[in-house]
Protein backbone atom coordinates (compact mmCIF):
# COMPACT_ATOMS: atom_id res chain seq x y z
CA UNK A 1 0.00 0.00 0.00
CA UNK A 2 1.38 3.35 -1.01
CA UNK A 3 2.33 5.83 1.68
CA UNK A 4 0.84 9.20 0.77
CA UNK A 5 1.60 12.23 2.85
CA UNK A 6 -0.51 15.02 1.44
CA UNK A 7 0.75 17.51 4.01
CA UNK A 8 4.39 17.06 3.00
CA UNK A 9 3.40 16.27 -0.61
CA UNK A 10 5.21 12.92 -0.63
CA UNK A 11 4.22 9.62 -2.21
CA UNK A 12 5.95 6.30 -1.81
CA UNK A 13 4.60 3.37 -3.79
CA UNK A 14 5.57 -0.22 -4.57
CA UNK A 15 5.97 -1.77 -8.00
CA UNK A 16 6.58 -5.51 -8.25
CA UNK A 17 8.16 -7.34 -11.19
CA UNK A 18 6.38 -10.69 -11.42
CA UNK A 19 6.79 -13.60 -13.84
CA UNK A 20 8.12 -17.12 -14.25
CA UNK A 21 11.62 -18.12 -13.19
CA UNK A 22 14.41 -16.99 -15.51
CA UNK A 23 12.13 -14.62 -17.44
CA UNK A 24 14.41 -11.65 -16.73
CA UNK A 25 12.91 -9.82 -13.76
CA UNK A 26 16.25 -9.30 -12.03
CA UNK A 27 17.82 -8.30 -15.37
CA UNK A 28 15.15 -5.60 -15.72
CA UNK A 29 16.04 -4.19 -12.32
CA UNK A 30 19.76 -4.40 -13.06
CA UNK A 31 19.26 -2.46 -16.26
CA UNK A 32 17.18 0.19 -14.49
CA UNK A 33 19.88 0.44 -11.84
CA UNK A 34 22.53 0.94 -14.50
CA UNK A 35 20.67 3.15 -16.97
CA UNK A 36 18.61 5.38 -14.66
CA UNK A 37 21.37 6.36 -12.28
CA UNK A 38 19.90 9.81 -11.63
CA UNK A 39 16.65 8.28 -10.46
CA UNK A 40 18.20 5.63 -8.26
CA UNK A 41 18.05 6.87 -4.67
CA UNK A 42 19.46 3.94 -2.76
CA UNK A 43 21.35 0.71 -2.88
CA UNK A 44 20.07 -2.14 -5.02
CA UNK A 45 19.65 -5.15 -2.79
CA UNK A 46 19.97 -8.42 -4.62
CA UNK A 47 20.29 -11.37 -2.31
CA UNK A 48 22.93 -13.85 -3.43
CA UNK A 49 21.33 -16.73 -5.19
CA UNK A 50 22.27 -20.21 -6.27
CA UNK A 51 22.76 -20.42 -10.03
CA UNK A 52 21.48 -16.89 -10.63
CA UNK A 53 18.04 -17.72 -9.31
CA UNK A 54 16.28 -15.29 -7.01
CA UNK A 55 15.38 -16.96 -3.73
CA UNK A 56 13.84 -14.04 -1.89
CA UNK A 57 13.58 -10.78 -3.85
CA UNK A 58 15.55 -7.94 -5.39
CA UNK A 59 14.96 -4.35 -4.35
CA UNK A 60 15.71 -1.00 -5.94
CA UNK A 61 14.45 2.36 -4.68
CA UNK A 62 14.00 5.11 -7.28
CA UNK A 63 12.87 8.73 -7.10
CA UNK A 64 10.83 10.34 -9.83
CA UNK A 65 11.25 13.88 -8.48
CA UNK A 66 8.31 16.26 -8.33
CA UNK A 67 5.12 15.25 -10.11
CA UNK A 68 2.16 17.63 -9.73
CA UNK A 69 3.96 19.12 -6.76
CA UNK A 70 4.48 15.78 -5.06
CA UNK A 71 7.81 14.13 -4.35
CA UNK A 72 7.35 10.60 -5.76
CA UNK A 73 9.44 7.65 -4.64
CA UNK A 74 9.00 4.12 -5.92
CA UNK A 75 10.21 0.86 -4.47
CA UNK A 76 10.89 -1.70 -7.17
CA UNK A 77 10.82 -5.35 -6.16
CA UNK A 78 11.16 -8.66 -7.98
CA UNK A 79 9.71 -11.94 -6.77
CA UNK A 80 11.35 -15.37 -7.01
CA UNK A 81 9.85 -16.94 -10.11
CA UNK A 82 10.22 -20.63 -9.38
CA UNK A 83 6.95 -22.36 -8.61
CA UNK A 84 8.10 -23.61 -5.19
CA UNK A 85 8.51 -20.08 -3.82
CA UNK A 86 4.81 -19.20 -3.86
CA UNK A 87 4.82 -18.23 -0.19
CA UNK A 88 7.68 -15.78 -0.73
CA UNK A 89 5.88 -14.25 -3.71
CA UNK A 90 2.85 -13.65 -1.48
CA UNK A 91 5.08 -11.92 1.05
CA UNK A 92 6.70 -9.65 -1.52
CA UNK A 93 3.35 -8.77 -3.08
CA UNK A 94 2.05 -7.40 0.20
CA UNK A 95 1.23 -3.72 -0.21
CA UNK A 96 1.79 -3.75 -3.97
CA UNK A 97 0.53 -0.74 -5.95
CA UNK A 98 1.47 -1.81 -9.48
CA UNK A 99 2.82 -4.84 -11.30
CA UNK A 100 5.06 -5.53 -14.29
CA UNK A 101 4.54 -9.08 -15.50
CA UNK A 102 7.71 -10.20 -17.27
CA UNK A 103 6.83 -13.01 -19.69
CA UNK A 104 9.44 -15.13 -21.42
CA UNK A 105 9.18 -15.03 -25.22
CA UNK A 106 10.88 -18.40 -25.68
CA UNK A 107 8.44 -20.92 -27.10
CA UNK A 108 9.54 -23.54 -24.58
CA UNK A 109 8.46 -21.25 -21.74
CA UNK A 110 4.89 -20.82 -22.98
CA UNK A 111 3.26 -22.82 -20.21
CA UNK A 112 5.44 -21.28 -17.51
CA UNK A 113 4.15 -17.83 -18.49
CA UNK A 114 0.56 -18.95 -18.20
CA UNK A 115 1.13 -20.75 -14.91
CA UNK A 116 2.85 -17.69 -13.46
CA UNK A 117 0.05 -15.35 -14.57
CA UNK A 118 -2.47 -17.67 -12.94
CA UNK A 119 -0.35 -17.69 -9.80
CA UNK A 120 -0.35 -13.88 -9.77
CA UNK A 121 -4.12 -13.87 -10.13
CA UNK A 122 -4.50 -16.29 -7.19
CA UNK A 123 -2.06 -14.45 -4.96
CA UNK A 124 -3.78 -11.14 -5.61
CA UNK A 125 -7.16 -12.70 -4.85
CA UNK A 126 -5.82 -13.89 -1.50
CA UNK A 127 -4.97 -10.28 -0.73
CA UNK A 128 -8.43 -9.12 -1.79
CA UNK A 129 -7.11 -7.60 -5.03
CA UNK A 130 -8.17 -8.22 -8.60
CA UNK A 131 -5.77 -8.75 -11.46
CA UNK A 132 -8.23 -6.83 -13.62
CA UNK A 133 -8.16 -3.77 -11.38
CA UNK A 134 -4.58 -3.49 -10.22
CA UNK A 135 -2.25 -1.39 -12.43
CA UNK A 136 -0.57 -4.02 -14.59
CA UNK A 137 1.76 -3.99 -17.59
CA UNK A 138 2.99 -6.99 -19.56
CA UNK A 139 6.50 -7.27 -20.91
CA UNK A 140 7.41 -9.84 -23.56
CA UNK A 141 11.07 -10.25 -22.77
CA UNK A 142 13.98 -11.94 -24.58
CA UNK A 143 12.89 -10.91 -28.07
CA UNK A 144 16.62 -10.75 -28.94
CA UNK A 145 16.96 -14.52 -28.69
CA UNK A 146 15.26 -14.99 -32.06
CA UNK A 147 18.43 -13.67 -33.66
CA UNK A 148 20.38 -16.47 -31.98
CA UNK A 149 18.14 -19.05 -33.62
CA UNK A 150 15.99 -19.93 -30.64
CA UNK A 151 12.26 -20.39 -31.32
CA UNK A 152 10.32 -17.51 -29.79
CA UNK A 153 6.58 -16.88 -29.79
CA UNK A 154 5.15 -14.17 -32.03
CA UNK A 155 3.94 -11.16 -30.03
CA UNK A 156 0.46 -11.72 -31.46
CA UNK A 157 0.35 -15.19 -29.99
CA UNK A 158 1.57 -13.93 -26.59
CA UNK A 159 -1.04 -11.19 -26.69
CA UNK A 160 -3.70 -13.76 -27.41
CA UNK A 161 -2.63 -16.12 -24.68
CA UNK A 162 -1.74 -13.69 -21.91
CA UNK A 163 -3.48 -10.43 -22.64
CA UNK A 164 -6.70 -11.36 -24.41
CA UNK A 165 -8.80 -10.87 -21.31
CA UNK A 166 -6.66 -8.44 -19.38
CA UNK A 167 -6.21 -5.91 -22.22
CA UNK A 168 -3.39 -4.10 -20.43
CA UNK A 169 -0.45 -2.25 -22.03
CA UNK A 170 2.23 -4.63 -23.28
CA UNK A 171 5.79 -4.15 -24.49
CA UNK A 172 8.37 -6.21 -26.34
CA UNK A 173 11.72 -6.11 -24.63
CA UNK A 174 15.24 -7.43 -24.35
CA UNK A 175 16.19 -6.68 -20.79
CA UNK A 176 19.81 -7.68 -21.36
CA UNK A 177 20.30 -4.84 -23.83
CA UNK A 178 17.72 -2.64 -22.12
CA UNK A 179 15.42 -2.42 -25.10
CA UNK A 180 11.84 -1.89 -23.95
CA UNK A 181 12.75 -1.75 -20.26
CA UNK A 182 12.27 2.01 -19.95
CA UNK A 183 8.96 1.93 -21.84
CA UNK A 184 7.65 -0.85 -19.64
CA UNK A 185 8.66 0.95 -16.47
CA UNK A 186 7.23 4.29 -17.60
CA UNK A 187 3.89 2.72 -18.50
CA UNK A 188 3.70 0.82 -15.22
CA UNK A 189 4.51 3.97 -13.23
CA UNK A 190 1.92 6.01 -15.13
CA UNK A 191 -0.80 3.47 -14.48
CA UNK A 192 0.17 3.15 -10.83
CA UNK A 193 0.21 6.90 -10.20
CA UNK A 194 -3.09 7.31 -12.04
CA UNK A 195 -4.63 4.60 -9.91
CA UNK A 196 -3.34 6.28 -6.74
CA UNK A 197 -4.70 9.58 -8.02
CA UNK A 198 -8.15 8.02 -8.49
CA UNK A 199 -8.02 6.64 -4.98
CA UNK A 200 -6.32 9.41 -3.02
CA UNK A 201 -6.59 12.52 -5.25
CA UNK A 202 -2.99 13.34 -4.44
CA UNK A 203 -2.49 15.59 -7.46
CA UNK A 204 -5.12 18.12 -6.46
Amino acid sequence: MAVINLKNRQIECKLVFYGPGRSGKTTNLEYIHKAFKKQVIGKMISIDTEGDRTLFFDFLPIGLGKIKGCDVKVQLYTVPGQVKYKATRQLVLKGVDGIVFVADSLAVRREKNMTSLKDLHENLLKMGLSIRKIPLVLQYNKRDLAAKGLPIMPVKKMEHELNRQLQVPSFSASALSGEGVGNTLTAALKLTLQSLQNEFKWAQ
Binding site: R22, K43, I45, I47, E50, G51, D52, R53, L55, F56, F59, P80, Y85, A87, T88, L91, V92, K94, G95, L106, V108, R109, L145, K148, G149, L150, P151
Partner: protein, 305 residues
Protein backbone atom coordinates in the same frame (compact mmCIF):
# COMPACT_ATOMS: atom_id res chain seq x y z
CA UNK B 1 15.69 -29.78 -42.86
CA UNK B 2 17.89 -32.85 -43.12
CA UNK B 3 18.72 -34.96 -40.11
CA UNK B 4 22.23 -33.56 -39.72
CA UNK B 5 20.92 -29.99 -39.57
CA UNK B 6 18.20 -31.01 -37.16
CA UNK B 7 20.74 -32.55 -34.78
CA UNK B 8 22.97 -29.49 -35.04
CA UNK B 9 20.01 -27.15 -34.39
CA UNK B 10 18.79 -29.10 -31.39
CA UNK B 11 22.29 -29.17 -29.94
CA UNK B 12 22.69 -25.42 -30.43
CA UNK B 13 19.32 -24.83 -28.78
CA UNK B 14 20.30 -27.01 -25.84
CA UNK B 15 23.54 -25.05 -25.41
CA UNK B 16 21.69 -21.72 -25.51
CA UNK B 17 19.04 -22.86 -23.02
CA UNK B 18 21.80 -24.00 -20.72
CA UNK B 19 23.60 -20.67 -21.13
CA UNK B 20 20.38 -18.86 -20.13
CA UNK B 21 19.86 -21.03 -17.07
CA UNK B 22 16.92 -22.94 -18.56
CA UNK B 23 18.33 -26.25 -17.46
CA UNK B 24 15.19 -28.39 -17.75
CA UNK B 25 14.72 -27.22 -21.34
CA UNK B 26 18.41 -27.80 -22.11
CA UNK B 27 18.20 -31.31 -20.70
CA UNK B 28 15.17 -32.11 -22.81
CA UNK B 29 16.95 -30.91 -25.95
CA UNK B 30 20.14 -32.85 -25.17
CA UNK B 31 17.99 -35.96 -24.77
CA UNK B 32 16.31 -35.30 -28.12
CA UNK B 33 19.74 -35.01 -29.75
CA UNK B 34 20.83 -38.22 -28.06
CA UNK B 35 17.72 -40.01 -29.35
CA UNK B 36 18.25 -38.79 -32.89
CA UNK B 37 21.93 -39.77 -32.97
CA UNK B 38 21.22 -43.16 -31.42
CA UNK B 39 18.53 -44.00 -33.95
CA UNK B 40 20.65 -42.98 -36.94
CA UNK B 41 23.28 -45.25 -38.41
CA UNK B 42 26.13 -44.00 -40.53
CA UNK B 43 26.95 -40.87 -38.51
CA UNK B 44 30.68 -40.27 -38.46
CA UNK B 45 32.19 -40.65 -34.97
CA UNK B 46 28.78 -41.66 -33.64
CA UNK B 47 30.13 -43.14 -30.40
CA UNK B 48 32.23 -40.05 -29.71
CA UNK B 49 29.20 -37.79 -30.21
CA UNK B 50 27.03 -39.95 -27.97
CA UNK B 51 29.70 -39.85 -25.28
CA UNK B 52 29.86 -36.05 -25.48
CA UNK B 53 26.07 -35.75 -25.24
CA UNK B 54 25.92 -38.18 -22.33
CA UNK B 55 28.41 -35.97 -20.48
CA UNK B 56 26.27 -32.88 -21.19
CA UNK B 57 23.18 -34.69 -19.91
CA UNK B 58 24.97 -35.76 -16.75
CA UNK B 59 26.34 -32.27 -16.00
CA UNK B 60 23.00 -30.58 -16.65
CA UNK B 61 21.14 -33.12 -14.50
CA UNK B 62 23.57 -32.55 -11.66
CA UNK B 63 23.13 -28.78 -11.88
CA UNK B 64 19.35 -29.19 -11.85
CA UNK B 65 19.45 -31.47 -8.84
CA UNK B 66 21.65 -29.03 -6.98
CA UNK B 67 19.25 -26.17 -7.69
CA UNK B 68 16.23 -28.21 -6.64
CA UNK B 69 17.88 -28.80 -3.30
CA UNK B 70 18.34 -25.10 -2.56
CA UNK B 71 16.07 -23.91 0.22
CA UNK B 72 14.96 -20.33 0.71
CA UNK B 73 15.83 -20.49 4.39
CA UNK B 74 19.40 -19.38 4.08
CA UNK B 75 20.63 -16.48 6.10
CA UNK B 76 20.41 -13.17 4.28
CA UNK B 77 22.56 -10.07 4.84
CA UNK B 78 21.50 -7.49 7.39
CA UNK B 79 20.31 -4.94 4.83
CA UNK B 80 18.02 -7.54 3.30
CA UNK B 81 16.73 -8.46 6.74
CA UNK B 82 15.95 -4.80 7.42
CA UNK B 83 14.01 -4.66 4.19
CA UNK B 84 12.06 -7.79 5.06
CA UNK B 85 11.15 -6.21 8.40
CA UNK B 86 10.19 -2.94 6.74
CA UNK B 87 7.74 -4.70 4.45
CA UNK B 88 5.67 -5.83 7.39
CA UNK B 89 6.22 -3.06 9.86
CA UNK B 90 3.07 -1.60 11.29
CA UNK B 91 2.88 0.93 14.06
CA UNK B 92 0.07 0.67 16.55
CA UNK B 93 0.26 3.72 18.83
CA UNK B 94 -1.62 1.69 21.45
CA UNK B 95 1.01 -1.03 21.57
CA UNK B 96 4.64 -0.19 22.23
CA UNK B 97 6.91 -2.38 20.15
CA UNK B 98 4.22 -3.15 17.55
CA UNK B 99 6.50 -2.22 14.66
CA UNK B 100 9.08 -4.68 15.98
CA UNK B 101 6.44 -7.39 16.07
CA UNK B 102 5.59 -6.82 12.41
CA UNK B 103 9.28 -6.92 11.53
CA UNK B 104 9.91 -10.09 13.51
CA UNK B 105 6.94 -11.81 11.89
CA UNK B 106 8.27 -10.83 8.47
CA UNK B 107 11.68 -12.31 9.30
CA UNK B 108 9.97 -15.52 10.39
CA UNK B 109 7.94 -15.72 7.19
CA UNK B 110 11.09 -15.29 5.13
CA UNK B 111 12.65 -18.20 7.01
CA UNK B 112 15.07 -16.10 9.08
CA UNK B 113 14.05 -18.04 12.17
CA UNK B 114 16.96 -17.35 14.54
CA UNK B 115 16.69 -13.59 14.17
CA UNK B 116 12.90 -13.71 14.38
CA UNK B 117 12.94 -15.78 17.57
CA UNK B 118 15.48 -13.45 19.12
CA UNK B 119 13.22 -10.43 18.49
CA UNK B 120 10.02 -12.24 19.43
CA UNK B 121 11.54 -13.34 22.73
CA UNK B 122 12.21 -9.70 23.55
CA UNK B 123 8.58 -8.87 22.78
CA UNK B 124 7.34 -11.29 25.43
CA UNK B 125 8.05 -8.38 27.80
CA UNK B 126 5.22 -6.29 26.34
CA UNK B 127 1.74 -7.02 27.68
CA UNK B 128 -0.07 -6.13 24.46
CA UNK B 129 2.25 -8.09 22.19
CA UNK B 130 3.03 -11.11 24.35
CA UNK B 131 0.27 -13.31 22.96
CA UNK B 132 1.16 -12.75 19.28
CA UNK B 133 4.86 -13.00 20.00
CA UNK B 134 4.37 -16.34 21.76
CA UNK B 135 2.30 -17.79 18.90
CA UNK B 136 4.91 -16.73 16.38
CA UNK B 137 7.72 -18.23 18.47
CA UNK B 138 5.91 -21.57 18.47
CA UNK B 139 5.33 -21.24 14.70
CA UNK B 140 9.05 -20.67 14.12
CA UNK B 141 10.07 -23.77 16.06
CA UNK B 142 7.47 -26.00 14.42
CA UNK B 143 8.49 -24.75 10.96
CA UNK B 144 12.02 -25.87 11.72
CA UNK B 145 10.73 -29.31 12.81
CA UNK B 146 11.53 -28.68 16.46
CA UNK B 147 8.05 -29.62 17.64
CA UNK B 148 9.24 -31.24 20.83
CA UNK B 149 11.15 -28.13 21.69
CA UNK B 150 8.04 -26.04 21.03
CA UNK B 151 6.11 -28.30 23.43
CA UNK B 152 8.72 -27.78 26.14
CA UNK B 153 8.53 -24.04 25.58
CA UNK B 154 4.75 -24.05 25.91
CA UNK B 155 5.04 -26.11 29.08
CA UNK B 156 7.52 -23.64 30.49
CA UNK B 157 5.06 -20.79 29.87
CA UNK B 158 2.37 -22.86 31.50
CA UNK B 159 4.52 -23.55 34.53
CA UNK B 160 5.78 -19.99 34.89
CA UNK B 161 2.27 -18.54 34.53
CA UNK B 162 3.57 -16.11 31.96
CA UNK B 163 0.10 -15.75 30.43
CA UNK B 164 -3.35 -15.21 31.93
CA UNK B 165 -5.74 -18.18 31.48
CA UNK B 166 -7.61 -16.72 28.46
CA UNK B 167 -4.36 -16.05 26.58
CA UNK B 168 -3.01 -19.44 27.48
CA UNK B 169 -6.17 -21.02 26.11
CA UNK B 170 -5.72 -19.06 22.88
CA UNK B 171 -2.08 -20.20 22.60
CA UNK B 172 -3.08 -23.81 23.32
CA UNK B 173 -5.73 -23.82 20.63
CA UNK B 174 -3.35 -22.21 18.11
CA UNK B 175 -0.57 -24.60 19.03
CA UNK B 176 -2.80 -27.65 18.62
CA UNK B 177 -3.81 -26.48 15.14
CA UNK B 178 -0.18 -25.82 14.27
CA UNK B 179 0.88 -29.31 15.34
CA UNK B 180 -2.05 -30.87 13.45
CA UNK B 181 -1.05 -29.00 10.30
CA UNK B 182 2.53 -30.19 10.72
CA UNK B 183 1.25 -33.75 11.13
CA UNK B 184 2.85 -34.12 14.55
CA UNK B 185 1.33 -36.53 17.03
CA UNK B 186 1.25 -34.50 20.23
CA UNK B 187 -0.01 -34.08 23.76
CA UNK B 188 1.01 -30.61 24.69
CA UNK B 189 -0.28 -30.57 28.28
CA UNK B 190 0.44 -34.01 29.55
CA UNK B 191 3.79 -35.04 28.28
CA UNK B 192 6.87 -33.64 29.91
CA UNK B 193 9.32 -32.78 27.23
CA UNK B 194 12.75 -34.36 27.20
CA UNK B 195 14.34 -31.06 26.50
CA UNK B 196 14.64 -28.13 28.81
CA UNK B 197 14.61 -24.64 27.49
CA UNK B 198 16.36 -21.57 28.73
CA UNK B 199 17.14 -23.37 31.96
CA UNK B 200 18.26 -21.45 34.97
CA UNK B 201 21.88 -21.98 35.71
CA UNK B 202 22.83 -23.93 38.81
CA UNK B 203 26.20 -22.32 38.68
CA UNK B 204 27.31 -19.26 40.56
CA UNK B 205 29.31 -16.77 38.51
CA UNK B 206 32.03 -16.79 41.15
CA UNK B 207 32.46 -20.55 40.99
CA UNK B 208 33.47 -20.64 37.37
CA UNK B 209 37.12 -20.73 36.44
CA UNK B 210 38.51 -18.92 33.43
CA UNK B 211 37.80 -21.14 30.46
CA UNK B 212 40.11 -21.19 27.46
CA UNK B 213 38.32 -23.73 25.25
CA UNK B 214 35.33 -26.06 25.11
CA UNK B 215 34.60 -29.35 23.41
CA UNK B 216 31.08 -30.61 22.69
CA UNK B 217 29.01 -32.67 20.28
CA UNK B 218 27.18 -30.75 17.55
CA UNK B 219 23.47 -31.24 18.18
CA UNK B 220 22.04 -30.97 14.65
CA UNK B 221 22.61 -30.13 11.02
CA UNK B 222 25.16 -31.39 8.52
CA UNK B 223 27.75 -32.16 11.21
CA UNK B 224 25.37 -33.57 13.78
CA UNK B 225 27.09 -35.89 16.23
CA UNK B 226 30.57 -34.57 15.46
CA UNK B 227 32.79 -33.32 18.29
CA UNK B 228 34.19 -29.82 17.94
CA UNK B 229 36.63 -27.87 20.00
CA UNK B 230 36.33 -24.08 20.07
CA UNK B 231 38.46 -21.43 21.70
CA UNK B 232 36.81 -18.98 24.04
CA UNK B 233 37.08 -15.39 22.89
CA UNK B 234 35.27 -13.81 25.83
CA UNK B 235 33.88 -14.90 29.18
CA UNK B 236 31.61 -13.15 31.60
CA UNK B 237 30.88 -15.44 34.53
CA UNK B 238 28.78 -18.33 33.26
CA UNK B 239 28.49 -16.86 29.76
CA UNK B 240 31.21 -17.84 27.32
CA UNK B 241 31.60 -16.65 23.74
CA UNK B 242 33.33 -18.19 20.76
CA UNK B 243 34.04 -16.91 17.28
CA UNK B 244 33.12 -18.97 14.25
CA UNK B 245 34.28 -17.98 10.81
CA UNK B 246 31.53 -17.38 8.27
CA UNK B 247 33.36 -19.88 6.05
CA UNK B 248 32.47 -22.64 8.50
CA UNK B 249 28.96 -22.83 7.11
CA UNK B 250 28.37 -26.45 8.04
CA UNK B 251 29.50 -25.82 11.58
CA UNK B 252 27.23 -22.76 11.81
CA UNK B 253 24.29 -24.80 10.57
CA UNK B 254 24.96 -27.45 13.16
CA UNK B 255 24.32 -25.31 16.23
CA UNK B 256 21.59 -22.80 16.97
CA UNK B 257 20.26 -20.69 19.81
CA UNK B 258 18.13 -22.86 22.07
CA UNK B 259 20.26 -25.96 21.66
CA UNK B 260 21.05 -27.78 24.84
CA UNK B 261 24.57 -29.19 25.02
CA UNK B 262 24.69 -32.09 27.42
CA UNK B 263 28.33 -33.11 27.56
CA UNK B 264 30.62 -30.15 27.37
CA UNK B 265 34.27 -30.44 28.26
CA UNK B 266 35.59 -27.16 29.65
CA UNK B 267 39.31 -26.53 29.44
CA UNK B 268 40.76 -24.04 31.86
CA UNK B 269 44.47 -23.33 32.44
CA UNK B 270 44.30 -25.22 35.75
CA UNK B 271 41.73 -27.96 35.22
CA UNK B 272 39.44 -29.81 32.89
CA UNK B 273 35.81 -30.10 33.97
CA UNK B 274 32.51 -31.25 32.52
CA UNK B 275 29.05 -29.80 32.39
CA UNK B 276 26.02 -28.69 30.45
CA UNK B 277 25.29 -25.53 28.54
CA UNK B 278 22.57 -23.74 26.68
CA UNK B 279 23.23 -21.90 23.40
CA UNK B 280 21.92 -18.45 24.24
CA UNK B 281 22.78 -16.64 21.03
CA UNK B 282 24.45 -16.85 17.65
CA UNK B 283 24.88 -13.57 15.87
CA UNK B 284 26.81 -12.14 12.95
CA UNK B 285 29.52 -9.65 13.86
CA UNK B 286 28.60 -6.38 12.17
CA UNK B 287 31.81 -4.35 12.48
CA UNK B 288 35.54 -4.61 12.88
CA UNK B 289 38.09 -7.04 11.47
CA UNK B 290 35.85 -10.04 12.20
CA UNK B 291 32.85 -8.53 10.40
CA UNK B 292 30.71 -11.23 8.85
CA UNK B 293 31.96 -13.94 11.20
CA UNK B 294 29.73 -15.25 13.97
CA UNK B 295 29.75 -15.00 17.72
CA UNK B 296 28.33 -17.99 19.57
CA UNK B 297 27.33 -17.63 23.21
CA UNK B 298 26.81 -20.50 25.62
CA UNK B 299 25.33 -20.15 29.06
CA UNK B 300 26.84 -22.72 31.42
CA UNK B 301 23.96 -24.24 33.35
CA UNK B 302 25.55 -27.10 35.20
CA UNK B 303 28.97 -28.33 36.24
CA UNK B 304 29.02 -32.10 36.62
CA UNK B 305 32.56 -32.78 37.71
Amino acid sequence: MNLGDKIKNYFKEAELYSEHGLLAEALERYRSVEGLVRSTRGIRNRDGILKKIAKKIETTSQKLQKLDGVQATQKVPEDAQSLMKEMYTFDDPEAKGSSTLGGAVALAKFGQYDEAIEELNRLLEYDKLRLEAAKNILWCWVQQSYSEYAVSLYQKWLKNKLFPPDELESIKSYFNELMDEAGVDHEIDEVESQQTIEPDSEVDDDEILDISAVKFVLPRGPREGEKVELEISFQSGKYIQMMISRKEKELLDSINPGDLLKDIVFYSPVAIFYGEGFVSSKSAISAGPKKGDFSLEIKIIKIVS
